[in-house]
Symmetry: C2
Subunit: 337 residues, 2 copies
DNA sequence: CGTGATTTTGCACACCTATGCAAAGCCTTG
DNA sequence: CAAGGCTTTGCATAGGTGTGCAAAATCACG
């Protein structure tokens, strides 16, 4: 095993001092002449700056901690892949932290400790289920944080979500003009801002249209819970369900069709939220509100890097609008065809 | 922003030397008395060893590079989540590297360079699509590598897969005893060992049973390609299709049912491979060979850590058997009901 | 060519921990 | 009690880079 090539080796070969080499590679000022000599020597020796040493001294690791809880909902793998890619392009790297199911205080603390240990430059909290405590602690540790697909009112934290209230309202409009008379709602987890916002936007618009919601049940972003919730609403004889995310919507559709033998959208119209890739599969062909993952991720990355590079930067709260995607799981109003 | 507390601070407070502190925290020998003093002082000051400095000097980062290509196939998010969790438990951390679609030589080199830069202790190559060049280069760089769900004959690299040939054979047995007469095969990408092995195991067993395969088409682990392949085989009037992975099987089922109006399994039986969570959704209810992700990941982690901690450790090739999961997408033989 | 302003360069140190080495401490045993 | 073996401890240095500071070099300009 060969010894690593260091900046001293390069310096020796180029006939300059080590600091000159350092300056060339860290982008500080240097004359064209020395820069050329250094680069040539570096290429010849196959030199690459030691990231660890660099991080040790600058205190910046160029590593971002990405905290996720549950990748079973295909929205998150998609996001994760994009995060990794986008961050790579910005010269950062992604370290994944998985927070266990029952995220106890102890687990949370351990994860934060690990992120601090690795001197992560910034943190993306990318899961609805993550308790507020985690966010607060990260913030307290003095590390830039951005909440992804998750809000926290009055926290002063940067956050990027889709326009959830507006999205909910869009669904209300759509189901209303589709002529549905008994509309129910399998809500996203009401302990999360996304869940609450979608629900509120939906209910408010429905009320504004002069129509009551037949019932609201919390599906907790969980398969089994969603099915249970749907059953409760079906007992109230609904003809349309707005389901808080696609993941639950699939479970509900399966249940309606396979277990209960109902037709979607014949007997019940279903509308989801997210537009995960699977929503366009023919088996579901789900009408849903698209969360523009690509733009959400890009926005998150930019916001985070801004905070990292300019510590005084304001923590922004961004909402990104997404369209309602019309497919076959819900009756389509006349005019929209 | 407070200065970090260092081992010197702890040493001063405990009345010992810095090396004593270091020894206590790195598990080297120390007397009970000093260990107690050090720990007490450390707790009081909130000291934690600086991972970067430690890595710099030991040359071990306790970071594992996880290289993935495509998270659209839900098999991989599942694996990723488990990797992150299991590695965390072993005191390692996961840095995700995404290799772009058309993995050119340049991209590959850049990724390896980045992993070397971060002095990753080990690498998991977790994607069928990754070229052999990448694996070879990692190996050449002297970093322990384990191929996950991907083989490479004669490479001398450690690898963990499911028993793909055997799995293929199981499907052959199953379709045969189901009384199918015209069996076709939408193969996994034949440029990958998993794809080839499943196909070979399937065809060999079929031949041994005295039955020909009506046709084999490469679906390249891609939605559109799989549909195209299925069309070619349907032209040959098949009554059963073994599809190289679940992801493609979903596409094929959608195509058969929605576009062509065929019944599954009435007109055509479909069998997949992987048993991703979605396979059990009622909309597909896919009969498939389970890849035991949990055990595959655990095995990979152990193999990798063995290699890291004992550089002379043999690179093992492990195959893990998985059962055929009977569901509703394929006609079930009399006796098995 | 001389003077002052500006850029470039090298020196030395900081970042924080692990570890080889020798001295010091302890325990054991005859 | 002395000698010898083992454990513990402190000293000093390595690991590879970035950066403040002062000296040196370059430049502009009269």
């Amino acid at each position: 095993m060969m010894r690593r090539v260091t900046s001293f080796d390069v310096a020796a070969r180029a006939g300059v001092s080590q600091s000159a080499v350092s300056r060339v590679f860290s982008g500080a000022s240097a004359s064209k002449a020395t820069a050329d000599k250094v680069r040539e020597a570096a290429d010849a020796l196959g030199y690459r700056p030691n990231v660890l040493a660099r991080s040790l001294i600058t205190g910046r690791s160029r590593i971002i901690g990405l905290v996720v809880a549950y990748l079973g909902n295909p929205f998150y793998p998609d996001a994760l892949e994009r995060f990794s890619r986008d961050l790579q392009e910005e010269g950062y790297h992604t370290m994944v932290f998985t927070v266990p199911e029952g995220a106890g205080e102890v687990d949370t603390d351990r994860i934060i400790q690990q992120m601090l240990d690795h001197q992560v430059d910034g943190i993306v909290l990318a899961s609805v289920g993550l308790g507020d405590a985690l966010a607060a602690r990260c913030e307290a540790a003095g590390i830039p944080v951005v909440l992804f697909n998750r809000g926290q009112a009055g926290s002063g934290l940067a956050q990027v979500t889709s326009a959830n209230r507006l999205g909910g309202a869009k669904v209300a409009d759509f189901l209303f003009s589709g002529g549905h008379l008994r509309i129910g709602h399998v809500a996203g987890w009401q302990g999360s801002s996304t869940g609450r916002d979608r629900t509120e936007g939906f209910l408010e618009r429905l009320a504004a249209l002069g129509r009551d919601c037949v019932g609201v049940e919390d599906g907790r972003y969980d398969h089994a819970e969603a099915v249970r919730a749907a059953d409760l609403l079906l007992a109230k004889d609904v003809d349309a369900l707005f389901v808080g995310n696609d993941h639950m919507a699939f479970a509900v559709m399966d249940h309606l069709r396979s277990t209960l033998g109902l037709s979607v959208p014949g007997d019940v119209s279903i509308v989801g939220y997210d537009d995960v890739p699977m929503a366009s599969f023919a088996a579901y062909d789900l009408t849903t509100v698209r969360q523009p993952v690509g733009r959400m991720v890009k926005t998150t990355v930019i916001a985070l890097i801004n905070q990292i590079e300019d510590k005084s930067a304001q923590a922004e709260v961004t909402e990104i609008d997404g369209p309602l995607i019309l497919r076959g799981s819900a009756r389509i109003p006349e005019g929209l065809q």
